[in-house]
Amino acid sequence: MSIKEIIRVNEPRAILILVIYIFSSFSSTGSQYLLKYAINAISNQNFSNFLFWIITQAVTKFMATALLAVATYKFNQQMQEYIHRVRDEILRHYYANGQDKISKIENELSSNMKILTTDYLEPGSIIVQSLLVIMLSISALFTLHWSLILATIIVAIIVFLLPKIMKKKLSTATATAAMQNSELLETISNWFQGLTELRRYHVFSKMNKELDRTSQALAQANIKKENLHGIAIGINGIGNTLGQIGIMGYALVLLVNHQIDFGSWVIATSFCSNIFNGLWDIVDAITSINSTKQLRDLTGKLRQFISLPQVVPVNSVQVKNLVVEYQHGEKIAYPDFTINAGDKVLLTGDSGSGKSTLLKVLLGELIPQQGQVIYQTDNGQVISPQNAMVGYIAQDSSLFSTSITDNITMFANNLVEKVPKVTEKMQLSADLGNFPAGLKTQVNLDQDNLSGGQKQKIVLARAAIREPQMLLLDEATSAIDSNATAKIVHELLQTKQTLLLIAHNFSPKLMQQFDYQINLQAKEGAK
């Protein structure tokens, strides 16, 4: 995140914003300056002259307000467009990475962007505005009398240094108060967790004494802190008094020596306060900007472009010495096996024997602790799981809130013409007949307008339409009735695809149609 980037979002607008800021600051300092002429006109008893200047002053001041409003609006537009880009880049990063939790992504795209807007971008604009006002106020003071600038600088240094006197003591006192507070919390915890025991033995006075002691210690620490704070208010008051009344007194000296006129004397202090306030605003803005450092670093990292891994179609796979260890320590060791091109394989085994886990390893989503998974393309090239193009249907594949066609083609328009045929094969046609909009029916994730079986058929069609050379299915027909399941499986077995399928409710007749089975057994005491 840098100023350059924000400007680049829309360069003409950025220039316009800066120009309006300049005009607005000019008008607001100018209106303060014009008061001088109005005051001089009154002191000369010239009412019409006074009226002229006071009208000019009012118009200038209103212009400053209106211009600032326009600039703020335009700046916001720029900011939001910039945020839009950042969001898009971050989403692309998350997409390519594919490992992050949804809540984390949401947090980054929503609340973190909001924090950056209010604590980084907006303070940035305040710095620009304050610098402009300070510069113009210095010029205004210069036209009144050069020495006023010197006086302002001296007072500014004093005003900034005064708080340092109490700073150390105050921060120690604040730390002490925080410590006493946690001590009180701890005492409460220590005694209240045994409340019933204390009641049984009627031990109120001891508990009360202990709590009272820490409670009073906290009170004393707070009182001490606020006493110091009170003194700090007084000391800082010395600085403020110097800033307001000291400068006025000094300007009075200039007036007496005829170096400035009466009107200049009246307005001089207002330019000094402009400078003081501007400096404070800049300090606050910088503090706020610094507080977002970590967040900006994180966002910077997330905006970096990363590309998806290249994938190559494969049609056979070999598994050797595979062992997967779960986080809680359970281990699964798999038998070695090879699935050749065009094999139709059924993967069976008790629950907990690691069927789904095996598919995750085959897909490269899970890195095994031991062993290898070796894919081969049809011309014998060896491919790692991360780079293998393997079709996969999960137990709970996701649908998206768009049309059924889009859910099948996954937004690839060149596949649309194949949709009717594939829906026929996947036994979805009869279901579609019940929807008035047919394939154009919108999937509604909130109202859940599709049955579990229909959803699975859509996901099957989604995989089938791409005709992958290798397809893995994990209980992909669990919600589909046995009749339709048989037909779908039959269709899949007709293809040239290499097929590995997990299922537990197939009829023996259906199971026989596969080339062979791989049976996994849950091992006892594998810890």
């Binding site: 009226l51 949401e106 009180l184 019933t196 049984r200 707070n222 996954m410």
Partner: protein, 531 residues
Amino acid sequence: MTIKDFFKQNPLRCILIIFTAAFFPAMHLVNTGLLAIITTAVKKWQIPFAFWLVAIMALVSLVDYFTQGWFNSLFTKQAEEYSVALRRKIVQHYFDDQADHQVSQVQNRLTNDIEQVTWDYFASWCNIIMDISFFVFAFLLLLNFHWLLLVISIAMTIISLILPKLLNKQLQKATLHISSANKIYLDSLEKWLSGLAELRRYLAGAKLFKVIQVDSKKLEDANVKQVGLQQTLVVINGLISESFSFLLFILAGWLIINHHVQFGAWIVVGDCQYYLASSIEQMIAAYGRIEGSKSLNKQIADSATQSSVKQEKSVGTPVSLITENLSLKFPNGERLTFPDINIKKGEKVLLTGDSGAGKTSLLKILLGEITPTTGKVIFRNEKGQKIIPNMSKVGYISQAPVLFPGSIADNMTMFNACLKSKLTPLIERIQFARDVSNFPTGLNTRINLNKLNISGGQRQKIVLIRALVHQSKIILIDEGTSAIDQQATIEILREVTSGEQTVIFIAHSLNDYMRQMFDREIHLVKNKNLG
């Protein structure tokens, strides 16, 4: 928490607080008035007089700031002392009311809640005093110059307060619009990202980016729109307040030129109008905070009253007990019914049962820590008379015995110094002497609850000695669940089963060795009736 109690905490100081709260705004306005006089003086070229006034003004300004600081200290002192008193009352209430109190809830009540109400309630009342003072002095200062200036200022103040209300509704709508756009954005992120793996598999990223872009654009547009409305409001406000201050300045100019007021009026009108408007605005805000803190304030007040529930007058040391029709209903609808049991003096009873059959619950009912839904427990003394038991004479060794910050001896005597002399023989008997000698300062070793310097077995022994030194005739033991703690429990068991006390022991895992130490076993069965 009431203003009255706050006042009573230290009436003299409270009067001083009110005085300082009203005093420093007055000083502010005195300085504004002084500035007017100085300006007039300079205008008339009374230079020495003007310099004197500048010096006085600086002095007043310093007094003003130091009074603010003083007010700060005074208020904190009063508030903190009041908080201490309040905490004392709440602790007393929590001890007396015989109810369960979550530690985190007690912590919150005694620290955050009290602090919040101090600021939202008492500090807001002080703000109101300051604002009244600002208003009154600004009013008087303007009136002192010319009544017309006052009338125009008041009119301006009223309009500046009413005006924002006009656009308020639309602004609220814009804010709601942002929040709903944000919700839609998050919802669409949730829906699309939950299928992220699928989208990646089919390389459908382009669609994802497009859909999310549309929703993020809506959110961004809603933000821009809100800023647009806000800025429109700023411009309208600016236009009206400019016109009014223009009017005010023209009026002031006219009055000055026609010698109705002194030149200095020019300087004060703007400031006074500002004080009038901001004091009213602040007063409304402070009132809002006071109203907002009312319910919390009431909660605190309730927990600081004397508890009406008092511990029943306890008479006599129980030695035997019977239960009648005990049952317990849980908030989730589950219901436990217990068989009637009759435990005679000196009996050693083993309590077993499935997990969830209510063994620990039964023990807690016997201890009076849980009130049963139906039925009652009757305790009898040596002579067989029904008594209200003195619970300090019923020892309870729980799975996780509670220790308190104090010495080991304090934890045995429960801070009753008279019992200290009786500890030594008991410590010998329970075989705790070796443990004690391992501690650097023996029985006076302070127990550190953060870094537990006491093992689970030692804890149980301490609590057992606690029961014995209080001459408990009934001892209830809930066996520790971890293997290490079990070993310690067995040692303790051997000790208590050979004594004269009545013992009820819950066994979670049973072995024959334990079983033979007891006279009989009560087995609880989990009953399946729900509702």
